[in-house]
C-alpha cells in the first residue's frame, strides 16, 4: 500500500514486542504488559489502554493540561498504547493534542477516536477536525459513537480504510444500550473493533456480544471497567482484597482484581480505564502485567464481588 506511514511501519515492526517505547524521554524497562492481537490484522496492542471521558476534559487550563500530560507520560512509560476519546468529551481531544505535543511523540500511541454527529455526510470533515486537534494522522482506530447515523458513517469509514485514511474502524456503545442493533452490525458489517461496557459488575456482553466478537474476528474494547468510578472507590474504601487473589494470580490491588477480570476474558482485547491521577495510572497499568486468572478463577472473582 502506497500510503503506509513511517509510524505504521514502526508499529508493525514493534508488534509483539513488550512495551518498549520509541521516544528516549519515555524509555523505560520492558514492562511485561500483556499484548493481545487485533483479530483482523494480527497486530498486538497492550491490554490496558486509557479512556479520557471526564478526566482529560480540562478546557484551556494550562496547569491541569500539564497535569494530564504527566498522566499520559506515565501511561506510555508503562507500555500503554490505546487512548480513546470522542468529540462528545468536551476539550479532551484538544488536551490530548496538547499532551502529545508536550511529550514530543506519538510513537507509542494507538489513537482511537469517534465520529459523533447526526450528519451522516460529515464523516470525513469530523475525522479531519479530530486529526488536526490531536496532531495525529491517520488515526489508528475510528469508531462510530453510540451507533449515531451508523449506516452513513460506516460506509464512509470503510472507504477511508481502503484509502489508508484510517487503519481500523469500529462501533461503540456503553451501559448495555442498543445491544440488539449493535449485534446486528457486528454480525453483518465488516468492522475491526467494537467498544462496549464490560466489567465484573456489568457482564451483559458475555451473553451474546463477546462470543459473537470472537466468532466474527472483531477486537473488543471494554469501557467503564470501574462502572463510572464508584465500583473501585467503594472497594478501596470499604473492602480488603481477598487473600486468595494474591495467591492464585498476580493481584495486589483492587485495580488488578477488576482489570484482570476484564482483560482475561478471551474475547476482550483491551480495557480503557480513565484517570486524572498518576498514582492511579500506575495501578491501572500494573494490572496489564503478570498472571491472569483462568475461567474458574474469574467466576470465583465475580462471586466474591457479588457477595460484598
Amino acid at each position: 500500500m502506497s500510503n503506509i506511514t513511517r509510524r505504521q511501519i514502526l508499529k508493525l515492526i514493534a508488534a509483539g514486542a513488550a512495551g518498549v517505547t520509541l521516544n528516549p524521554a519515555l524509555a523505560a524497562a520492558p514492562t511485561g504488559m500483556l499484548r493481545k492481537p487485533i483479530p483482523s490484522s494480527g497486530e498486538r496492542i497492550p491490554v490496558i489502554g486509557m479512556g479520557t471521558w471526564k478526566t482529560f476534559n480540562v478546557g484551556d487550563d494550562r496547569e491541569l493540561r500539564l497535569a494530564r500530560t504527566e498522566v499520559l507520560e506515565e501511561f506510555f512509560r508503562h507500555g500503554g498504547g490505546m487512548v480513546d476519546c470522542s468529540p462528545m468529551y468536551g476539550s479532551s481531544g484538544e488536551v490530548m493534542g496538547f499532551a502529545l505535543e508536550q511529550l514530543g511523540t506519538t510513537e507509542p500511541l494507538f489513537s482511537a477516536e469517534k465520529v459523533w454527529t447526526d450528519d451522516g455526510s460529515a464523516t470525513r470533515e469530523q475525522v479531519a477536525d479530530l486529526e488536526s486537534t490531536w496532531g495525529v494522522a491517520p488515526f489508528d482506530l475510528m469508531q462510530i459513537h453510540n451507533l449515531v447515523a451508523w449506516q452513513e458513517h460506516l460506509e464512509t469509514l470503510q472507504e477511508m480504510k481502503q484509502q489508508g485514511s484510517v487503519r481500523y474502524i469500529g462501533i461503540t456503545t456503553s451501559h448495555g444500550r442498543r445491544h440488539e442493533e449493535f449485534e446486528r452490525v457486528m454480525a453483518n458489517e465488516d468492522i475491526d473493533f467494537v467498544q462496549l461496557t464490560y466489567s465484573i459488575t456489568s457482564r451483559e456482553a458475555e451473553r451474546r456480544l463477546l462470543p459473537l466478537a470472537r466468532e466474527r474476528g472483531i477486537a473488543v474494547i471494554a469501557n467503564m471497567p470501574y462502572d463510572r468510578g464508584p465500583l473501585i472507590k467503594g472497594l478501596k474504601a470499604r473492602e480488603q482484597l481477598p487473600d486468595w487473589a494474591g495467591q492464585e494470580f498476580d493481584c495486589s490491588t483492587w485495580a488488578d482484581f477488576l482489570l484482570k477480570f476484564i482483560v482475561s476474558h478471551p474475547s476482550v482485547t483491551c480495557a480503557i480505564p480513565a484517570t486524572s491521577r498518576v498514582d492511579h495510572m500506575n495501578e491501572n497499568m500494573q494490572a496489564g502485567a503478570g498472571d491472569m486468572p483462568g475461567p474458574e478463577l474469574r467466576e470465583r472473582m465475580a462471586r466474591h464481588i457479588e457477595s460484598l
Binding site: N57, V58, G59, Y89
Partner: protein, 227 residues
C-alpha cells in the same frame, strides 16, 4: 432511540468537580475587579425594579445576563460541555427578550412598594443572588477564590434574575423572563449534585421560591381582575 432509564445524570456531565470549580476560580481571576461593578449593577437593578423603574432595571439585568452568557458560558464553559454554547445563547436571547418585556411593563406604570409574598420572594432571591452568593463558597469550605458573583458567574446571575423578574414584572412577562434563569438553576443544581456540591440545594430552593412567588402573584392578579 436509547432507553432513557439507562442514563444517569452523571452521563450528561462531562467534567469533574475539580475542573469545574477551577473554572469558576479562573474566570473570577480573569475579570477581577469587575466584580465590584457587577455587584453594583445587580443591587441597582434590584432597587430600580423595586421602585417601579422597570426599563432601566431590565436593561441592567439584560446586560448582566448577556455578559455572563457570552463570557462564561460560550467563552469558557462550552470548552468543557458541548451544550455550553446553547446555554450561553439562551442567556443572550433571554437578555434580548427582557428589554421589550421591561419596556412594556414600564408603560403600565406599576409600582411594587407594597409588601407582598411575591415581593418578599423577589427580595429574598435578590439578596441571595447579589450580596449573598459570594459567601456560599467560603461557607462550604472552598475559599474566597471560588466565590461566585452576580454578573460574572451564571448561578448567582440566574438567581438574581428570578428575583428581579418577580419585583418588576407581572403576568406572562414575568413568566417569560423567568424561563431561562429557572432552567439554568435546575441544570446547574443537577450538575452540582453530580459534583457532590451541597449547595445544589440552594438552587433548587431558589427555583421553588420563585415558583411560589410567581404563582402567588398570578393568583392574586387573577383574583383582583388584573389578568
Amino acid at each position: 432511540m436509547d432507553d432513557l432509564s439507562t442514563y444517569a445524570v452523571a452521563d450528561f456531565i462531562p467534567f469533574t468537580a475539580d475542573v469545574y470549580f477551577r473554572l469558576i476560580e479562573r474566570v473570577s481571576e480573569a475579570w477581577w475587579p469587575l466584580h465590584l461593578l457587577t455587584l453594583g449593577v445587580g443591587l441597582a437593578a434590584a432597587a430600580l425594579a423595586w421602585s417601579g423603574r422597570a426599563r432601566i432595571a431590565g436593561g441592567l439585568l439584560a446586560a448582566a445576563l448577556a455578559w455572563v452568557g457570552a463570557t462564561f458560558l460560550v467563552g469558557k464553559y462550552a470548552q468543557l460541555n458541548w451544550a455550553g454554547t446553547w446555554f450561553g445563547w439562551a442567556f443572550v436571547i433571554a437578555a434580548a427578550l427582557l428589554v421589550p418585556l421591561a419596556f412594556a411593563e414600564s408603560r403600565s406604570a406599576r409600582r411594587n412598594r407594597r409588601i407582598s409574598v411575591p415581593g418578599l420572594a423577589g427580595l429574598a432571591l435578590v439578596v441571595l443572588g447579589v450580596p449573598g452568593y459570594p459567601f456560599i463558597a467560603p461557607l462550604a469550605g472552598r475559599g474566597w477564590a471560588q466565590a461566585e458573583v452576580f454578573g460574572i458567574h451564571p448561578d448567582p446571575t440566574a438567581v438574581a434574575a428570578l428575583g428581579i423578574a418577580l419585583l418588576m414584572l407581572r403576568g406572562y412577562r414575568m413568566w417569560l423572563a423567568a424561563v431561562v434563569p429557572a432552567l439554568w438553576c435546575l441544570v446547574s443544581a443537577l450538575t452540582l449534585q453530580v459534583l457532590s456540591a451541597p449547595w445544589a440545594q440552594v438552587l433548587y430552593a431558589a427555583v421553588g421560591v420563585a415558583l411560589l412567588g410567581m404563582l402567588w402573584r398570578g393568583l392574586a392578579d387573577f383574583g383582583s381582575g388584573r389578568v
